[in-house]
């Protein structure tokens, strides 16, 4: 019997270990080694931290990263602002009968790929697009307006893409909240604002934190939306990694950027958790 359990354990355990080791750990080690090698002027590969130091010494690289991180924080905040009322409405205001239906309605757009959704927005917003067509027909404008290829449209696209990942954790954390807390506070004379700040937000905090982490990481690591909707000024850090690998043939620099992205974004999340006094384990449970 004991032997059988061991065999069963072995059969199910080996694929997991192989998967983790061969597809995740091994390539990461390879990338790490690659990031520490640098081609000197003689064309020889030598061990060096030059790839990492160039991130800090060359303005274009760290500026791009700072820009990407700031935009990712803005997007995370906006996503929260947009989705929180939705989550509150679905869990607390609307008749519970429609809860499932409304959630499905929100989930539906996410059944198609990100690429298709981004192209959908592009069809709406472009100069010869649907919105401009109606604006011209109604006589509101006389010249079509270019609404694509700027930071505002890019942020909107990113918020739209990441809404689901904020909504679902907030939904589930609000769902577990007992309505009688709100009633009690109301009976004791608390204003709506106080109820919201002192009861609703703290209760939903773990959901907000886990949603924010996911949205922040997804936005920071996004490539498609900034590239397609942002246009000419939107150099995203992921694009810079891509450029190092593909355009410049400089895999060593690209690998170093990849690790820097991982490290710095983890650091930002750690700082965020410290400031908001939240705990990662609690948020993800």
């Amino acid at each position: 019997m004991n032997r059988h359990i061991k065999l069963g354990f072995f059969i199910f355990f080996v694929p997991v270990i192989l998967w983790l080791f061969l597809l995740i750990v091994l390539p990461q080690i390879d990338l790490l080694l690659m990031s520490l090698k640098f081609e000197n002027d003689a064309g020889k590969m030598v061990w060096s931290f030059a790839n990492y130091s160039s991130f800090f010494t060359q303005k274009v690289y760290w500026l791009t990263f700072a820009r990407t991180a700031i935009y990712a924080i803005i997007v995370t905040f906006l996503t929260f602002v947009v989705t929180f009322p939705m989550a509150f409405y679905i869990t607390k205001v609307v008749n519970p009968k429609y809860k499932g239906f409304l959630t499905i309605l929100i989930l539906m757009p996410f059944w198609v790929s990100e690429l298709v959704r981004v192209y959908g927005w592009m069809i709406l917003l472009r100069e010869s697009g649907v919105i401009n067509y109606f604006l011209l027909k109604l006589g509101i404008t006389h010249q079509p307006i270019e609404m694509l290829y700027n930071d505002a449209s890019m942020i909107m696209g990113l918020v739209y893409t990441s809404m689901l990942f904020m909504l679902v954790p907030i939904l589930s954390s609000l769902d577990g909240m007992d309505d009688s807390y709100i009633e009690a506070a109301h009976d004791l004379g608390a204003s709506k604002f106080i109820i919201f700040m002192k009861i609703v937000i703290p209760y939903a905090a773990p959901g907000i934190v886990s949603g924010s982490i996911v949205v922040f990481m997804l936005t920071l690591g996004d490539y498609l939306t900034p590239n397609l909707m942002g246009g000419k000024n939107s150099l995203w850090f992921t694009e810079q990694i891509y450029n190092q690998f593909i355009e410049s043939f400089n895999w060593n620099q690209g690998a170093a950027f990849g690790f820097l992205l991982l490290l710095i974004s983890s650091l930002i999340i750690w700082i965020g958790l410290k400031i908001s006094k939240q705990n990662l384990a609690k948020a993800l449970s």
Binding site: S128, N227, K232, I246, F249
Partner: protein
């Protein structure tokens, strides 16, 4: 538990055997380079299944470099991007010209490709298609656009588009009256030239609508009139001309940039035989003519010219005078290290 093991082993065997069954030819190519009619014909004739992966020069090199020349049986890089890449990463195998009907090729083009792809005594490619990059212009809305410098012309503010890639840098250098190809071997001078191009492109940035990344997206912006001057490939411009006579490909005054795309066999190709079969198949005059008539790009097949549709011949004559043809700047092989310089310049332009 024993049954479980049997099932696991059984599925593993099934999976691996289904992967082995049937012959396939995996081609790493550009969009439009393997028309469906020809793929079907080839599969019917030989029984070999063709799998196509669409890519561009940079991605082709990166993909083959990652697998050290595996994963594909045949690739189609441009002729100028082979020798330095091969010398450094060894991702291709020497071409065996005895297995190819060399009489099917335009002799001068075959000789040029052989010469440009030579590394340590062996050559690595045969030509497949050629064409030029230049301007695609909406002549009704931008009647005076004649040269690359019009991509920086405030007259067309917000209606300009080009790729943020190396051909644009090269084109802008030619528009300044310089010759970037002459500076290929001198990295310092090349960098200085590119810094000048960078300044121009950054200055011209407010005029650009967007940097296009995908040929279809450019065509749709030209169709709708959102873009009136763009840098693009001749085939695309002629395609638009057929739909709207106002739009056409224009050979720029400082010279269209000529490229030749090739066939090269990756180092770990698993089906070299089928790869040669495909090369010989697609270079037959009738098949090559079908490719050109469909895609608009020129073919390196010698006998195909006579079989081209009159429309294709008219396209070429309309866009290229005798002087324009002599003025085409054919890409010489790119030496190593230039990519790093260009990559940095492109990053700086986009981040500005």
């Amino acid at each position: 538990m024993k049954r479980l093991v049997t099932i696991a082993v059984g599925t593993a065997i099934l999976l691996s055997s289904s992967l082995m069954a049937g012959q396939t030819l995996r081609i790493l190519t550009w969009k439009g380079y393997a028309p469906k009619a020809l793929v079907d014909k080839f599969e019917k004739q030989t029984g070999i299944k063709v799998e196509l992966t669409y890519s561009n020069n940079e991605e082709m090199i990166a993909k083959l470099r990652a697998t050290r020349g595996g994963g594909f049986d045949l690739a189609q890089p441009s002729q100028d991007r082979i020798s330095s890449v091969q010398a450094k990463f060894k991702i291709y195998q020497p071409m065996d010209y005895s297995k190819i009907k060399t009489s099917e090729f335009i002799p001068s083009m075959l000789a040029a490709v052989k010469k440009n792809t030579k590394v340590k005594g062996s050559s690595y490619a045969v030509p497949f298609a050629y064409g030029t990059s230049g301007l695609i212009v909406n002549k009704k809305l931008a009647p005076y656009a004649k040269d690359y410098s019009d991509l920086l012309n405030p007259m067309y503010k917000g209606k300009i588009s080009y790729r943020l890639k190396r051909p644009t840098l090269i084109a802008m250098a030619f528009a300044k009256g310089d010759n970037p190809f002459a500076k290929y071997s001198d990295a310092k001078a090349y960098k200085k030239l590119m810094d000048g191009v960078k300044a121009d492109l950054i200055k011209g940035k407010p005029l650009v609508k967007n940097y296009w990344a995908n040929g279809d997206a450019l065509l749709s912006m030209m169709r709708s009139g959102e873009v009136v001057v763009a840098m693009g490939w001749d085939g695309g411009g002629w395609k638009l001309h057929k739909e709207n006579p106002n739009i056409d490909f224009v050979a720029p005054a400082s010279g269209a940039l000529g490229w030749i795309d090739t066939f090269a066999i990756p180092a770990k190709s698993k089906n070299v035989k089928a790869a040669y079969k495909w090369i010989n198949f697609i270079m037959k005059p009738a098949n090559a003519a079908l490719f050109t008539n469909e895609s608009g790009y020129g073919t390196a097949s010698n006998g195909a010219t006579a079989l081209l549709s009159p429309e294709k011949k008219a396209n070429f004559q309309r866009s290229f005078s005798k002087a324009d043809i002599d003025n085409i700047k054919w890409y010489p092989p790119v030496p190593a290290k230039l990519e790093k310089i260009e990559g940095k310049i492109l990053d700086l332009i986009k981040s500005e």
